[in-house]
């Protein structure tokens, strides 16, 4: 069942269109990722959901109730702020129990719930510490504990890990997922880090220039991106322009300045249309007899497990490839190399 349903949200600041007709819905118990570059409108969208910013148009439904005009205090939506926004004059216990006091729970209940959530977030031994004295990871946990202690229906996380170092970030990814499973809460998780979203996400919505571009699982987004932006935001891709020459059965032929390529046909493609086709650097094979590209090695970047190799063709086009180190050893660095791309690995953009 949908816990949150957003429909047709738009927002302008002055003449700048920050959000354009954004719609999506979030299921109970899921982590819904919103992924996009900085400035794409993610934070504004979150602020509209929490009620700190009013949308110009559109509707927000929380558990079937229209909350578009409800003040933030009444929405019961938890929020973890990017800078944590902990209260430096209160210790961990006071920070966390604040929400329960506001909601006027009896002292006994406040004590029990605060204790429990501190246990869940592994903060029990820090209850009397003050936030400025805590490490980044601990502050993050306090922010999380404070947001979930009131058992909101929905928890929003605004770039929650962006202030942590790489190792801690990995650890907290696990933590957030564990806590989400334990307390069974719907989350909207906003990030600009595609690796984070891909690693943690069940469902990801990609945002660009104020619009939701595509929603799907990590695999769907990576292998069938809706547009070039999504394709390149989620990973490296080689793109060529071409024209559809012929269509037969499952396949079609696309003419590019690197030659003719046979690729899987998609519904709606017509002969004679201009398209762009692309493939991911790791989707390459050797020894096939179709879709062959030949060139010399222009640049090599050794990454340990894998190697990034740039190939330069006779037409001076650079293809970025990625292969395992073992494969790379078999290639003679000075000679020409040929590789091919299988028809189903091509992505078509119109």
């Amino acid at each position: 069942m949908d816990i949150l349903k957003i429909s047709g949200i738009s927002k302008k600041f002055g003449t700048a269109e920050i959000l354009r007709n954004v719609s999506f819905s979030v299921d109970e118990d899921e982590i819904f990722f919103i992924l996009g570059p900085s400035g794409c409108g993610k934070t504004t969208l979150l602020r509209i959901i929490t009620g700190f910013t009013a949308p110009d148009s559109g509707k927000i439904m929380l558990s079937g109730r229209d909350i578009t005009d409800m003040p933030p205090a009444n929405r019961n939506i938890g929020m973890v702020f990017q800078n944590y926004a902990l209260w430096p004059h209160m210790n961990v216990w006071q920070n966390v129990s604040y929400g329960l006091e506001i909601k006027k729970f009896p002292p006994e209940v406040i004590r029990r719930k605060t204790e429990k959530v501190l246990q869940t977030t592994k903060l029990a031994s820090f209850a009397d510490h003050f936030p400025p004295k805590l490490s980044g990871g601990q502050q993050q946990r306090v922010a999380l504990a404070r947001a979930i202690v009131t058992e909101p229906k929905l928890l929003l996380l605004d770039e929650p890990l962006s202030n942590l170092d790489a190792r801690l970030r990995e650890e907290m990814r696990e933590e957030i997922r564990r806590i989400q499973r334990e307390i069974k809460i719907a989350m909207i998780y906003v990030t600009h880090d595609q690796k984070e979203a891909m690693a943690m996400g069940q469902k990801i919505a990609v945002m660009n220039e104020g619009k939701l571009v595509q929603t799907g699982t990590p695999v769907q987004l990576y292998s069938s991106p809706a547009d070039k932006f999504t394709a390149s935001f989620l990973g490296d891709i080689n793109i060529m322009e071409g024209e559809i020459k012929s269509i037969s059965g499952k396949y079609m032929s696309v003419m590019t300045d690197e030659g003719l390529f046979t690729i899987d046909r998609k519904a709606g493609d017509e002969s004679g249309g201009r398209v762009e086709i692309g493939f991911r650097p790791e989707n390459i094979f050797y020894g096939h007899d179709i879709n062959i590209i030949t060139g010399t090695i222009a640049d090599v970047e050794y990454l340990g497990e894998t190697v990034k190799v740039n190939i330069k063709t006779e037409k001076n086009r650079i293809f970025r490839l990625r292969m395992f180190s073992g494969e790379f050893k078999k290639i003679k660095p000075e000679g020409k190399i040929s590789f091919s791309v299988s028809p189903e690995d091509f992505i078509i953009f119109k």
């Binding site: 929490t50 009620g51 700190f52 003040p71 933030p72 205090a73 009444n74 929405r75 019961n76 939506i77 938890g78 929020m79 702020f81 990017q82 800078n83 926004a85 902990l86 209260w87 430096p88 004059h89 604040y98 929400g99 506001i102 909601k103 404070r146 947001a147 009131t150």
Partner: protein
Amino acid sequence: MTKIKAVYIFCFAFLAYFLLYPLAHVLSQSFVADGRLTLSIFKIALQNYAVRRSVINSFILGIMVVISTTAIGAPLAYLFARYRFPGKNILRPLFFLPLIVSPFVGAIGMMQILSRFGSLNILLMNIGIIKYPIPWLGSGFAGIFILETLHLYPIMFLNLSSALNNFDVSSEEASYNLGGSFLQTVRKITFPLLLPGYFAAASIIFIWALTDLGTPLVFEYRDLISVQIFNSIKDMNTNPQGYALVLFVVLITFLLFILTKKLIDKRPYTTGRTAAGFTEKSLPAKKLLFVYLAVLSLVLISLLPHISIILSSVSKRWFFTVFPSQYTGESYGTVFAHHLTKTGIFNSIFLSSASTLIDLLMGFTVGFLLARTKFRGRNLLDLLVMLPLAIPGIVMAFGYFSLFSNTLLDPRNNPVILLIISYSIRRLPYIVRSTYSSFQQLSESVEEASYSLGADTITTFKRITFPLISPGLFAGGVLAFSFSVMEVSSSLILAVRERHYPIAKVIYILAGRVTDGPYVACAMGVLGMVLVGLSYYISSRLVSRKIGEFFRIG
């Protein structure tokens, strides 16, 4: 929203009426004669020999004080910013001590030391270095110069220190790296980078010296602008001199203020932090000895006013001897027994409490409005509330006297309300700044976190916003209170009748009485010194800042 608008309008109205209106009144009185714009009052004023001489003297005094404070403050700042030596952190706070004694109180004590048969001459004659006493104070001008230099050099030191710490040392190192010599580097790199900070401090010191009223009055030196303005108040309705001189001061102040702002805007040179890995250079033993000698004698000399007022306050007889010949605690008893001093203490505490209350309320409100709302006219309010920094106390007091004469608020009848308002307006900029920066440091998400947990505006304010803002607010309040207790120029000008005298005026009156007057005045001065010193300490504790940050500009 409409409530906020109303508060806005109130703040504007208050500042306009008690700040702009008196200024405008002085301007109109000076430029308009017989309903026409005219510069004739300058002509009339400058025809007067005493006026001409006081303008020239004040200028010379101002420039001399800027030069002397630079000569002391600049090497000191460079030494403390760039070198490491044992005892540095113990020595540094000693340079704040001059700031806790206002020079006019210090002057009363220094008379004991520097007068014709004061301690210094007696000492030198006893040793046999001189045969006849040297007139150290001259006509009084030298005394004013010495006291103001000793009081103001810490401001130069603090501002240059912060400027030196604010730019990246690697910009100097880059010059050395390219083969620049020490002098070339200082001239081409260091000095240009320090210029905005230096100019700001120098302007403040110049204006301070130009408008200091208490010190020349104690030395009975009349040929300065400030004293001329003070004396012109009696016949302000018939004599245009006062208006011309006030206007003159206003013009100079604004000119310097605008120049400083231009300089700072044009060269936003704060390059941020010092380079990583920068370590202060250590000093060779020979130079170290010289440094200690220089620094310690400077500390000793700048503590002379303190020492002299403390000694005077406990002396019973101090004539023709190096140190008092008899000691007593009676002066302190007199402070709390004599009707004049009791009235003064009561008045000052009452006036300062009231003005501090206004400061806290207005300072918080304006700080909030500036930090958290986006109304049109925001910048204007910002400018208006900072304006008192640029308006010397003597100008404001003169403006009040001129504007409110023969009205309900006439200071000749009852100056209480005008004293409270002038005290509070003079200190308002400090409180607004400290509240404003507290608000700025407080990210809005800290309040939003509270709203998102279901708290309403009032609860959020009570439990989150106010507790986080209040240290900054009260730190400003403590300082505002003690500054107001020791406020000199408005007190001297606005309090006309004895029963309205605040502490500063009581000290001034006592200092002029022949018997034990100066000793009692010094006892009051010592108490004031303790109060100001304590309040610096308390407020720096409240905001866990260093005391020096209160005196930094821009």
